[in-house]
Amino acid sequence: MEILLAILVGILYTAGVYMILRRSIVKFIIGIIFLSNATNLLVFLASGVVSGKPVFVGEEPANASQMADPLPQALVLTAIVIGFGIVVFTLALKYKFFELTGTDDLDQLKKTDN
Protein backbone atom coordinates (compact mmCIF):
# COMPACT_ATOMS: atom_id res chain seq x y z
CA MET A 1 0.00 0.00 0.00
CA GLU A 2 2.75 2.46 0.98
CA ILE A 3 4.71 1.76 -2.19
CA LEU A 4 1.68 2.31 -4.39
CA LEU A 5 0.85 5.56 -2.64
CA ALA A 6 4.47 6.69 -2.82
CA ILE A 7 4.47 6.11 -6.58
CA LEU A 8 1.20 8.02 -6.84
CA VAL A 9 2.68 10.95 -4.91
CA GLY A 10 5.64 10.93 -7.27
CA ILE A 11 3.42 10.90 -10.34
CA LEU A 12 1.27 13.72 -8.98
CA TYR A 13 4.32 15.85 -8.19
CA THR A 14 5.74 15.24 -11.66
CA ALA A 15 2.49 16.11 -13.35
CA GLY A 16 2.06 19.16 -11.13
CA VAL A 17 5.52 20.53 -11.83
CA TYR A 18 5.07 19.89 -15.55
CA MET A 19 1.75 21.72 -15.53
CA ILE A 20 2.91 24.79 -13.60
CA LEU A 21 5.73 25.23 -16.08
CA ARG A 22 3.29 25.56 -18.98
CA ARG A 23 2.44 28.93 -20.42
CA SER A 24 -1.30 28.89 -19.90
CA ILE A 25 -2.78 30.14 -16.64
CA VAL A 26 -5.49 27.47 -16.64
CA LYS A 27 -2.84 24.77 -16.88
CA PHE A 28 -0.97 26.49 -14.09
CA ILE A 29 -4.06 26.21 -11.89
CA ILE A 30 -4.40 22.53 -12.76
CA GLY A 31 -0.75 22.14 -11.77
CA ILE A 32 -1.46 23.78 -8.42
CA ILE A 33 -4.33 21.34 -7.82
CA PHE A 34 -2.05 18.39 -8.60
CA LEU A 35 0.69 19.69 -6.33
CA SER A 36 -1.61 20.36 -3.42
CA ASN A 37 -3.17 16.92 -3.71
CA ALA A 38 0.27 15.34 -3.92
CA THR A 39 1.29 17.19 -0.76
CA ASN A 40 -1.86 16.12 1.06
CA LEU A 41 -1.16 12.51 0.14
CA LEU A 42 2.45 12.91 1.23
CA VAL A 43 1.38 14.14 4.67
CA PHE A 44 -1.02 11.26 4.95
CA LEU A 45 1.57 8.77 3.80
CA ALA A 46 4.45 10.07 5.91
CA SER A 47 2.57 9.47 9.13
CA GLY A 48 1.88 5.83 8.40
CA VAL A 49 -1.00 4.06 6.69
CA VAL A 50 -3.18 1.68 8.66
CA SER A 51 -5.96 0.09 6.68
CA GLY A 52 -9.40 -0.77 8.00
CA LYS A 53 -8.95 0.30 11.63
CA PRO A 54 -10.48 3.73 12.04
CA VAL A 55 -10.47 5.32 15.48
CA PHE A 56 -13.62 6.36 17.34
CA VAL A 57 -15.78 4.05 15.16
CA GLY A 58 -16.92 0.58 16.18
CA GLU A 59 -15.31 -1.30 19.04
CA GLU A 60 -11.90 -0.32 20.28
CA PRO A 61 -9.09 -2.82 19.70
CA ALA A 62 -7.08 -3.88 22.72
CA ASN A 63 -3.86 -2.33 21.44
CA ALA A 64 -3.88 1.34 20.53
CA SER A 65 -1.01 0.93 18.10
CA GLN A 66 -3.24 -1.14 15.82
CA MET A 67 -5.54 1.82 15.24
CA ALA A 68 -5.09 4.40 12.54
CA ASP A 69 -3.64 7.71 13.70
CA PRO A 70 -6.48 10.27 13.57
CA LEU A 71 -4.24 13.34 13.59
CA PRO A 72 -2.89 13.18 10.00
CA GLN A 73 -6.45 12.65 8.81
CA ALA A 74 -7.50 15.83 10.55
CA LEU A 75 -4.46 17.63 9.15
CA VAL A 76 -5.17 16.49 5.61
CA LEU A 77 -8.83 17.41 5.93
CA THR A 78 -7.89 20.92 7.02
CA ALA A 79 -5.35 21.18 4.22
CA ILE A 80 -7.97 20.06 1.69
CA VAL A 81 -10.39 22.72 2.90
CA ILE A 82 -7.72 25.40 2.63
CA GLY A 83 -6.73 24.12 -0.80
CA PHE A 84 -10.36 24.27 -1.90
CA GLY A 85 -10.60 27.92 -0.91
CA ILE A 86 -7.36 28.84 -2.60
CA VAL A 87 -8.19 27.07 -5.86
CA VAL A 88 -11.53 28.87 -6.05
CA PHE A 89 -9.82 32.19 -5.41
CA THR A 90 -7.24 31.44 -8.11
CA LEU A 91 -10.01 30.60 -10.57
CA ALA A 92 -11.83 33.83 -9.78
CA LEU A 93 -8.61 35.79 -10.18
CA LYS A 94 -7.89 34.15 -13.52
CA TYR A 95 -11.43 34.87 -14.66
CA LYS A 96 -11.14 38.53 -13.77
CA PHE A 97 -7.72 38.77 -15.40
CA PHE A 98 -9.01 37.16 -18.58
CA GLU A 99 -11.92 39.59 -18.67
CA LEU A 100 -9.59 42.57 -18.40
CA THR A 101 -6.79 41.49 -20.73
CA GLY A 102 -8.24 38.71 -22.88
CA THR A 103 -5.10 36.64 -22.55
CA ASP A 104 -4.33 33.28 -20.99
CA ASP A 105 -0.61 33.50 -21.67
CA LEU A 106 1.77 33.71 -18.73
CA ASP A 107 4.40 35.21 -21.01
CA GLN A 108 2.27 38.34 -21.24
CA LEU A 109 2.78 38.95 -17.55
CA LYS A 110 5.92 41.01 -17.83
CA LYS A 111 4.77 44.49 -16.97
CA THR A 112 5.33 44.50 -13.24
CA ASP A 113 8.75 42.85 -13.24
CA ASN A 114 10.98 45.84 -13.72
Partner: protein
Amino acid sequence: MNSVILQIAARYIKALLVLFAMIALLRGHNYPGGGFIGGLLAALSVIYYGFAFNVRQVREKLKVNPATYIAIGLFLVVLSFIPSILNQLELMQGVWLKVQIPVLGELKLGTPFLFDMGVFLTVIGVTFLFFFSLTKVE
Protein backbone atom coordinates in the same frame (compact mmCIF):
# COMPACT_ATOMS: atom_id res chain seq x y z
CA MET B 1 -28.64 24.78 -19.49
CA ASN B 2 -32.20 23.79 -20.18
CA SER B 3 -32.74 20.11 -19.61
CA VAL B 4 -36.16 18.96 -18.44
CA ILE B 5 -34.73 15.87 -16.79
CA LEU B 6 -32.29 17.93 -14.76
CA GLN B 7 -35.00 20.40 -13.78
CA ILE B 8 -37.38 17.76 -12.51
CA ALA B 9 -34.58 15.90 -10.77
CA ALA B 10 -33.40 19.13 -9.14
CA ARG B 11 -36.72 19.59 -7.36
CA TYR B 12 -36.48 16.24 -5.60
CA ILE B 13 -32.74 16.19 -5.10
CA LYS B 14 -32.87 19.60 -3.46
CA ALA B 15 -35.02 18.30 -0.62
CA LEU B 16 -32.97 15.11 -0.31
CA LEU B 17 -29.71 17.03 -0.12
CA VAL B 18 -31.00 19.32 2.60
CA LEU B 19 -32.17 16.30 4.59
CA PHE B 20 -28.83 14.60 4.09
CA ALA B 21 -27.01 17.79 5.12
CA MET B 22 -28.99 17.87 8.36
CA ILE B 23 -28.13 14.23 9.08
CA ALA B 24 -24.45 14.90 8.40
CA LEU B 25 -24.54 17.94 10.67
CA LEU B 26 -26.26 16.17 13.55
CA ARG B 27 -24.19 12.99 13.61
CA GLY B 28 -20.98 14.96 13.26
CA HIS B 29 -19.99 14.87 16.90
CA ASN B 30 -19.05 11.19 17.09
CA TYR B 31 -19.26 9.91 13.53
CA PRO B 32 -18.10 11.02 10.09
CA GLY B 33 -19.94 14.19 9.17
CA GLY B 34 -20.07 17.58 10.80
CA GLY B 35 -20.52 21.23 10.00
CA PHE B 36 -18.23 21.47 7.02
CA ILE B 37 -19.61 18.53 5.09
CA GLY B 38 -23.17 19.39 6.06
CA GLY B 39 -22.66 22.94 4.88
CA LEU B 40 -21.24 21.81 1.56
CA LEU B 41 -24.21 19.47 1.01
CA ALA B 42 -26.74 22.14 1.89
CA ALA B 43 -25.06 24.64 -0.42
CA LEU B 44 -24.91 22.00 -3.10
CA SER B 45 -28.71 21.72 -3.11
CA VAL B 46 -29.02 25.37 -4.07
CA ILE B 47 -26.15 25.21 -6.54
CA TYR B 48 -27.72 22.19 -8.25
CA TYR B 49 -30.97 24.10 -8.52
CA GLY B 50 -29.06 27.01 -9.99
CA PHE B 51 -27.50 24.82 -12.66
CA ALA B 52 -30.83 23.30 -13.59
CA PHE B 53 -32.76 26.56 -13.81
CA ASN B 54 -31.25 30.00 -13.76
CA VAL B 55 -28.55 31.23 -11.45
CA ARG B 56 -29.93 34.75 -11.39
CA GLN B 57 -33.38 33.59 -10.35
CA VAL B 58 -31.92 31.46 -7.61
CA ARG B 59 -29.93 34.40 -6.35
CA GLU B 60 -33.07 36.52 -6.25
CA LYS B 61 -35.12 33.84 -4.54
CA LEU B 62 -32.44 33.38 -1.92
CA LYS B 63 -33.04 36.94 -0.65
CA VAL B 64 -30.40 36.71 2.08
CA ASN B 65 -26.97 38.00 1.16
CA PRO B 66 -24.31 35.22 1.34
CA ALA B 67 -22.18 37.49 3.52
CA THR B 68 -24.97 37.48 6.11
CA TYR B 69 -24.74 33.70 6.36
CA ILE B 70 -21.02 34.05 7.02
CA ALA B 71 -21.60 36.74 9.64
CA ILE B 72 -24.25 34.69 11.47
CA GLY B 73 -22.07 31.58 11.29
CA LEU B 74 -19.04 33.35 12.73
CA PHE B 75 -21.25 34.90 15.39
CA LEU B 76 -22.44 31.44 16.46
CA VAL B 77 -18.81 30.34 16.66
CA VAL B 78 -18.01 33.23 18.99
CA LEU B 79 -21.16 32.45 20.97
CA SER B 80 -19.95 28.89 21.50
CA PHE B 81 -16.82 30.23 23.25
CA ILE B 82 -18.75 32.16 25.87
CA PRO B 83 -20.00 29.30 28.11
CA SER B 84 -16.47 27.98 28.52
CA ILE B 85 -15.22 31.43 29.52
CA LEU B 86 -18.11 31.96 31.96
CA ASN B 87 -17.51 28.56 33.56
CA GLN B 88 -13.81 29.35 34.10
CA LEU B 89 -12.76 26.52 31.82
CA GLU B 90 -10.09 26.61 29.13
CA LEU B 91 -11.23 28.40 25.99
CA MET B 92 -13.42 26.29 23.68
CA GLN B 93 -13.82 23.51 26.24
CA GLY B 94 -17.20 21.84 25.74
CA VAL B 95 -20.05 22.74 28.08
CA TRP B 96 -23.06 20.43 28.05
CA LEU B 97 -26.64 21.10 28.95
CA LYS B 98 -29.03 18.20 29.57
CA VAL B 99 -32.65 18.84 28.67
CA GLN B 100 -35.49 16.43 29.51
CA ILE B 101 -37.97 16.13 26.69
CA PRO B 102 -41.19 14.36 27.77
CA VAL B 103 -41.54 11.60 25.19
CA LEU B 104 -38.17 11.36 23.48
CA GLY B 105 -36.01 11.22 26.59
CA GLU B 106 -32.86 13.09 27.43
CA LEU B 107 -31.33 15.59 24.99
CA LYS B 108 -27.76 16.71 25.40
CA LEU B 109 -27.06 20.17 24.04
CA GLY B 110 -23.49 21.33 23.97
CA THR B 111 -21.26 24.11 22.73
CA PRO B 112 -19.61 21.83 20.14
CA PHE B 113 -22.95 21.69 18.36
CA LEU B 114 -23.19 25.48 18.38
CA PHE B 115 -19.69 25.59 16.93
CA ASP B 116 -20.64 23.06 14.25
CA MET B 117 -23.75 25.04 13.44
CA GLY B 118 -21.56 28.13 13.00
CA VAL B 119 -19.22 26.24 10.67
CA PHE B 120 -22.28 24.95 8.78
CA LEU B 121 -23.63 28.43 8.11
CA THR B 122 -20.20 29.87 7.30
CA VAL B 123 -19.52 27.13 4.77
CA ILE B 124 -22.92 27.67 3.16
CA GLY B 125 -22.24 31.40 2.91
CA VAL B 126 -18.74 30.95 1.52
CA THR B 127 -19.85 28.38 -1.04
CA PHE B 128 -22.70 30.65 -2.19
CA LEU B 129 -20.24 33.49 -2.49
CA PHE B 130 -17.89 31.34 -4.59
CA PHE B 131 -20.73 30.16 -6.77
CA PHE B 132 -22.33 33.51 -7.37
CA SER B 133 -19.07 35.29 -8.01
CA LEU B 134 -17.83 32.63 -10.44
CA THR B 135 -21.14 32.68 -12.32
CA LYS B 136 -21.08 36.48 -12.34
CA VAL B 137 -24.33 37.11 -10.55
CA GLU B 138 -23.05 38.93 -7.54
